[in-house]
Amino acid sequence: MTRKQRRLTIIGGSLGVLAVAAALVLNAMRDSIVFFSTPSMVAEKHVQPGKRFRLGGLVQPGSLVRGDNLAVTFSVADGSATLPVAYKGILPDLFREGQGVVAEGALDPSGVFKADTVLAKHDETYMPREVADALKKQGHWKDDYGAKPDYNAGAEGGSRAAQTVAPAKQGSLQ
């Protein structure tokens, strides 16, 4: 083989592999990507039952119901809409009412979100990014989530004041 031929072989081979890889990527992009929605986005867009997506929001306090054999239902809320979710399995350690959650699955014909995966936040200041963004848009975001406190700013506020209401009277009554 001449020099030129060798070079062509190598360049041709590389281009071939790259073309195959590009085809694979495009093919996978079409089939295996899931979108993220919040309950109000679901309500607006009329998502088709059976289409997989990720649902994010806060677990509605008081909505968690445990059924038989690890079946659970709860509602996910984003401040303006709620969506019932059904899940069968063990919830993550950090799943809690009133906290952020991301569930993956699809709507069933009756409008219940059947989740096959539930992810919860991983510490108390961390919130799934999509959930945080969505809540910010809805105006339900408090800026002190995850903000760094300034420890030298002064004594902590009277958060326990309520508890001292009754004893405060003690002295004057005795």
Partner: protein, 660 residues
């Protein structure tokens, strides 16, 4: 005093790094050896100060000095000592300090053992290293300072995230960082070569041991992280295609390609410009990994805190270093002398193929990881790219790579004989076919995919073995001769065989685990029994226990096989009062390379407890493979030819006589 000394030591390290990043380069320009030698002592002093700074932070954590914000936020006086210490790098600030400590360590090692490098190359390498170091010292001091204080120290700390309170954390991030940061050396060598405008085969020889060290640590770090996720996160998965995991996989793929292309460059003085580019890309991907984890731009199971200012700072560092080095590359690469060309069927050709597939695979991971980000910036749509995407793209690219893998070492340099190599691989091919046939018969009705994949893995392992057999001539020659030949074989040859076999073994584990994994998820009451993969598990009881800083619910499972009791497994669920959070501690029972895995869920009011039980056949091979790869890497590293330090011809002569 310890806190402030540690802080000041870090500042001094920055000052030294600034000097180290300028004086030696000026020295090289004016060919002044004294100025160039400043690089060396400055790098060593920098290491000393960063080590002191890191030691100070460890001491502060160990003594629970809550006047330091970092200790207050991430420690607790009741925490066991080992977790007080591992907690140092379980948080953002501490882990960044560990990062620069390792960076300084590698710089110090080059300074101390780089005697075999030309003076100006060493000066340039250390100066580039100091640029990186300066940027990260500034980052730490300005945005993530671990030595900030509280004037009125609180009585008690806020604990470490209990998910991170595990011995896996003690070793996994440092390993990973040794890998990430180790690639900074090959980056510095590449940039130094571009600045000097000169590169040749010797460069590859100098850079290879450092790349190999980084690669070994990264391999072990990834494997360890995967095992940690497997037993700590409690759902039995070992790889999630999570962005943070991808962030460590990308430098690994690029680094593996770099290792192989450096061999071509060393032996044949070819692929020079490509190798330089790979060095830059590998470290850029490591930096990107740091960025992905630190900036919190990606939703991920990893729990490091998120802070946009840090993200912007790291993005800036990223742009300057990646953009800068690539610009330098575009500007200077054409000035470098081109290497020779070679025949496609040859050892070089095989290594090019390896590079081609590894970098393409790396690119698909890159796209899968960053495409959601790009799409969000462009259209605002939020998507997630998960395992299905990577299974459809990454896996098909690895198949041809693995088929070609055994041929590489059997082909000669320059002009290879494909037919001859195929003949020598016939035994391996037969072994693979037998494996496929046996598995096919055994799992009749199952998917065809698993037997074929395992056949491929067997081919890779047997191929590595037949390469060894071929070189030692163990089946052709008398045993004594073969032994002598095997002693004379360079250690790097052994290393290659072990590393390649490791790939096959990991593949066997992966295929077995994903195909024949059986699971039971349900709720059990005491004295309930369940059966999984022939094992019978009986929930003997559930008890409460008080740990040092948590309460745990422990379930006892009596495991028996064919009626014979085997063992008791005790998975538990821990509740940490300070953080009001809980973790799941899975129980593992190892049987050969397979494992039984139990983790607990919520306890119901009627005394039943939710459990997940898995039987994972040959799952340990998934991590044994990488360990074998790393061992192969270490063998190569111990090869005399790669040893760091001045070459010693006299000793080489003695080695020669011994081999005769």
């Amino acid at each position: 005093m310890i806190a402030e000394s540690g802080h000041y030591a870090l500042v001094l390290a920055l000052a030294l790094a600034l000097i180290q990043s300028t004086l030696p380069i000026l020295g090289a320009r004016w060919r002044d050896f004294a100025l160039m030698n400043v690089a060396r002592s400055a790098a060593l002093a920098q290491l000393l100060f960063v080590a002191a700074s890191f030691a100070a932070l460890v001491t502060l954590h160990a003594t629970s000095d809550f006047s330091v914000v970092n200790v207050f936020e991430n420690s607790h006086s009741l925490k066991p000592m080992i977790y007080k210490i591992t907690g140092v790098w379980g948080n953002h600030e501490g882990s960044m300090l560990l990062w620069v400590f390792i960076l300084a360590l590698f710089g110090g090692l080059v300074a101390a053992f780089g005697n075999n490098l030309p003076l100006s190359l060493r000066a340039h390498v250390l100066a580039v290293q100091a640029w990186i170091a300066s940027a990260f010292y500034l980052f730490i001091l300005i945005t993530s300072n671990p030595f900030l204080r509280i004037a009125n120290p609180p009585i008690e700390g806020r604990d470490l995230n209990p998910v991170l309170q595990d011995i896996g954390l003690a070793v996994h991030p440092p390993m990973l960082y040794l890998g990430y940061v180790g690639f900074s050396i090959s980056f510095s060598f590449a940039v130094a070569a571009l600045i000097e405008g000169r590169i040749d085969a010797a460069w590859a020889r100098w850079v290879r041991p450092w790349t190999l060290v980084a690669w070994i640590f990264l391999t072990l770090g990834i494997a360890m992280g995967s095992y940690w996720a497997y037993y700590e996160l409690g759902w039995g998965g070992w790889w999630f295609w999570d962005p943070v995991e991808n962030a460590s996989l990308m430098p690994w793929l690029a680094g593996t390609a770099l290792l192989h292309s450096a061999v071509v460059m060393e032996k044949r003085n070819a692929l020079k410009i490509w190798t330089i580019l790979l060095s830059i890309l590998t470290f850029s991907l490591s930096l990107l990994g740091t960025f992905l984890v630190r900036s919190g731009v990606l939703t991920s199971v990893h729990a490091f805190a998120t802070d946009p200012t840090r993200g912007v700072f790291i993005l800036l560092i990223l742009c300057v270093f990646i953009g800068g080095s690539l610009t330098l590359y575009a500007w200077r690469a054409s000035a470098l002398k081109q290497g020779g060309l070679f025949a496609p069927i040859s050892r070089e050709g095989a290594l090019v193929l390896n590079n081609l597939f590894l970098t393409t695979a790396c690119a698909t991971v890159f796209i899968g990881t960053l495409y959601p980000l790009a799409l969000e910036v462009l259209t605002g749509d939020k998507i997630s790219v998960g395992a299905p995407f990577f299974n459809l793209t990454f896996a098909p690219l690895f198949v041809p790579l693995l088929i070609a893998l055994p041929f590489g070492p059997l082909l000669a340099w320059k002009r290879g004989d494909l037919l001859g190599a195929a003949q020598r691989l016939s035994a391996a091919g037969i072994a693979a076919l037998i494996a496929i046939a046996v598995l096919w018969a055994w799992t009749r009705g199952g998917s065809a995919f698993a037997p074929l994949a395992i056949g491929l893995a067997v081919f890779v392992v047997a191929g590595a073995l037949s390469d060894l057999a071929e070189r030692t001539g163990v089946f052709r020659m008398p045993f004594g001769t073969a032994m002598r030949r095997s002693r004379g074989l360079p250690r790097s040859t052994w290393g290659t065989a072990f590393a390649h076999a490791g790939v096959g073994i990991a593949l066997i584990g992966i295929v077995c685990e994903t195909t024949w994994n059986s699971e039971y998820i349900g709720s059990m009451k005491p004295n309930d029994t369940t059966e999984i993969a022939g094992y019978e598990l009986k929930l003997a009881g559930v008890t409460q226990r008080q740990g040092p800083n948590f309460r745990e619910t422990v379930a006892q499972f009596a495991v028996s096989l064919d009626g014979k009791p085997l063992s008791t497994m005790m998975p538990s669920k821990r509740n940490f009062t300070t953080r009001a959070s809980s973790t799941t501690e899975a129980a593992l029972l190892t049987r050969g390379a397979s494992q039984l895995y139990i983790s607990l869920g919520e306890a119901a009011a009627d005394g039943a407890i939710a459990v997940r039980i898995y039987h994972k056949p040959l799952v340990l091979l998934i991590w044994f493979g990488p360990v074998l790869m790393a061992f192969g890497g270490m063998l190569s590293l111990s090869d005399r030819r790669l040893r760091v330090g001045a070459p010693k011809p006299a000793k080489a002569m003695r080695g020669l006589q011994a081999a005769e």
